[in-house]
């Protein structure tokens, strides 16, 4: 198989919020910048974000970045790096105002300032009371954000390669990153994008789970490519779940449904939340509700032929209230659960929503790996931002509206650092190592010639079901151990997937097989890391690490206050300390996380 080479100063993989923000920085500085994306930029998953972006502008309530920092550290269950967190919250206002200048139509107050709304976990005065910190553009925040940044990129001549699938990272023998290999979906042509700086902004990998709120495109390509190139993955055991996704579909049913009086029931018709949270009942926090649902299912009180979901009942509510206060729910129930929710309850399960871990970076957006005594040595030429990266600001649990902020701040910072390195002449077009490109071609060749292989859809489904059952929202020691074995067995099938259609033009079967190569890396990293971490922290909750006086919430700081690093080679695990020292302020010391 042949390939051609194209040279750029910088190549960015991903045109969601993080990729577009990084590209602005590079193109504005006059760097020849290519952005590769599987779908048209404004169809990236960032479009789905509705809640808003956090910034302590203080337009609606008094606010301060230090309070935002405290909330983020606490939300992360003290696993977030405090230097990166301080950097993010201090740059929030500037990034939001810049976005406004790019033309983002934020909702406004009468005085013309950006309107702000409250969001879970965001508080004033170090956890005292809720604060209005989220900036939104009606219910289309992510969409408006992408449009504004895409237009800006067009203006500054960013070169877009739309419907191109990046396949592998190109790294030379010294470990330097020199670009990526990619395939043009329209022709099947393979190109080596040779760059002085390579930025990954490929988004999350929520599709490793059977039930996920993520669109199909979220297959963790950047994370998989990094792992194959020998880069460790950080804190992959931490995934945020939403308690109420439609069973079998994943589509999110908003918390508002329980707010309006919706009740969760098991197969016996019991309102089981009364047993788990006698006061808050169905309105208890996300993790408590999710755990209760899983316990009901595991103890045999799930519903349906496989007893694998519970029911969200709103049949007792006034139909007019439902249609007025919960617009869209009726249609979602009809379309994805096949039920008329005015007459029948909706089947729901805890559903994967957000990936906290990813490619390890520092606050400059540089990808960092352990080397000698330094556990965070930058990989020359390699940067990452957004959901695929782990800066780490979300630690063990992300606060809502902090991820849009993450992609703005670290997208910009990755772009900025790359510009500085390029301007300083620190990066050149080093010769491309032929072996690195051969590896991509060999992978494509294997897929094209595989006989008696495994079916892509079946293999992906087996992986998703295994992850859901063995490494879901509530984790069990024996299940995790068994799950590791199962995922490693499924990996063997991923290595022998077969496609029957060998055509070159928009061959979706081939694209999906290549995506599965990335998903399996994410799945392995997740379950191996989760199996090893024998405490509960943030979104990682294990039955054998319960709440005790010695270990409140099951958290074991003495042994586990550290970041996981998973290496693809032999599934090796390593750990590195959490950065407790912020940039300028005092450290926010370890405390039990309680709301």
């Amino acid at each position: 198989m042949k390939y051609t080479v194209r040279k750029f100063d910088a190549v960015i993989v991903g045109a969601g919020g993080a990729g577009l923000r990084a590209a602005i920085q590079l193109s504005e500085a006059g760097m020849k910048t290519a952005v590769l994306t599987k779908v048209f930029p404004t169809r990236s998953h960032t479009v789905a974000a509705q809640g808003g972006v956090a910034a302590s502008l203080g337009n609606s309530d008094e606010d301060h970045w230090h309070w935002h920092m405290y909330d983020t550290v606490k939300g992360s269950d003290w696993l977030g790096d405090q230097d990166a967190i301080e950097f993010m919250v201090r740059n929030a206002n500037e990034c939001v105002i810049e976005l406004e200048h790019y033309g983002m139509p934020f909702d406004r107050l009468d005085n013309g300032r950006i309107y702000q709304r409250p969001f879970g976990g965001h508080m004033s005065n170090f956890g005292e009371k809720p604060v209005r910190r989220s900036c939104a553009a009606a219910d289309r925040t992510g969409h408006a954000m992408l449009h504004a940044m895409y237009q800006r990129n067009v203006k500054v001549n960013t070169q877009f390669f739309v419907e191109w699938q990046a396949l592998d990272l190109i790294r030379d023998a010294e470990g330097e990153v020199l670009g990526v290999t990619a395939m043009d979906m329209e022709t099947g042509e393979v190109v080596a994008f040779h760059a002085k700086a390579t930025i990954f902004a490929t988004g999350g990998a929520g599709r490793i789970y059977y039930s996920s709120t993520n669109a199909f495109i979220n297959t963790g390509d950047g994370v998989g490519m990094a792992a194959r190139a020998g880069i460790p993955l950080e804190d992959m055991e931490f995934w945020q779940f939403h308690p109420t996704g439609v069973a079998g579909a994943g589509v999110l049913i908003t918390e508002g449904v329980r707010g309006e009086g919706g009740i969760l029931r098991n197969s016996l018709g019991e309102r089981f939340m009364e047993r788990y949270a006698p006061n808050a009942k169905d309105l208890a926090s996300r993790d408590i509700v999710s755990r209760a649902m899983v316990t009901e299912i595991n103890e045999g009180r799930g519903c349906g032929p496989n007893k694998d979901f519970v029911l969200l009942d709103i049949t007792h509510l006034d139909p007019e209230t439902i249609m007025k206060r919960l617009p869209g729910i009726h249609e979602i129930a009809v379309q994805f659960a096949g039920v008329d929710c005015l007459k029948e309850p909706i089947p729901v399960v805890p559903t994967c929503h957000y990936q906290m871990g990813g490619i390890p970076t520092n606050y400059l957006g540089q990808v960092v790996v352990p080397q000698g005594d330094n556990h965070s040595t930058p990989v020359p030429g390699f940067f990452a931002a957004g959901e695929c990266a782990c800066a780490s600001v979300h630690g063990a649990n992300r606060l809502g509206t902090n991820s849009l902020l993450d992609l703005l701040v670290f997208g910009k910072s990755a772009g900025e650092t790359a510009v500085n390195e390029l301007k300083a002449g620190a990066r050149t077009h080093k010769p491309l190592p032929a072996e690195a490109i051969e590896r991509t071609l060999a992978r494509l060749d294997r897929l094209n010639t595989q006989k008696d292989g495994a079916d892509v859809h079946e293999t992906r489904l087996a992986m998703q079901r295994t992850m859901q059952k063995h490494a879901g929202v509530f984790r069990f020691k024996d299940m995790l151990k068994e799950g590791v074995e199962k995922i490693l067995a499924i990996e063997q099938d991923v290595g022998r997937t077969q496609i029957n259609d060998k055509s070159m033009v928009f061959n979706t079967a081939r694209i999906e097989a290549l995506e599965l190569d990335n998903l399996i890396e994410v799945a392995k990293a997740t379950i191996v890391s989760a199996n090893a971490r024998t405490e509960s922290r943030g979104a990682h909750v294990r039955d054998d690490a319960p709440n005790t006086t010695e270990h409140p919430n099951g958290r074991d700081d003495k042994n586990w206050h550290k970041h996981t690093l998973w290496y693809r080679e032999n599934n090796r695990l390593d750990y590195k300390p959490v950065q407790m020292k912020p940039m300028t302020v005092d450290s926010i010391e370890l405390k039990t996380r309680a709301y």
């Binding site: 779908v39 169809r43 669109a215 869209g328 249609e331 055509s503 033009v505 061959n507």
Partner: protein, 82 residues
């Protein structure tokens, strides 16, 4: 399937990869059910429809909004079939 049609359908299918899970699921169902029923005129309507922004498309599929475009309306009906 002839190669040209194969390529056109492949492209359409890829354009059905959307930013919203809701739409991914609707299109997944559609292709599983109607792949063979997508003739050239359906292809043309789909091509136009897929140009819409995701939120606008979902507003049509979920009956939050209606359209005066008769071809769109007919295609939306097909997409809504469960």
């Amino acid at each position: 399937m002839d190669t040209e049609r194969n390529a056109r359908i492949g492209k359409l299918k890829w354009h059905c990869r959307r930013a919203l899970l809701e739409l991914d699921l609707v299109f997944q169902r559609f292709w599983a059910r109607e792949q063979d029923a997508v003739d050239e005129s359906s292809e043309a309507v789909l091509t136009r429809l897929l140009e819409l922004e995701d939120h606008d498309l979902w507003a049509l599929v979920s009956n939050k909004r209606t359209t005066d475009d008769v071809e769109f309306a007919a295609m939306i009906k097909r997409l809504q079939k469960i």
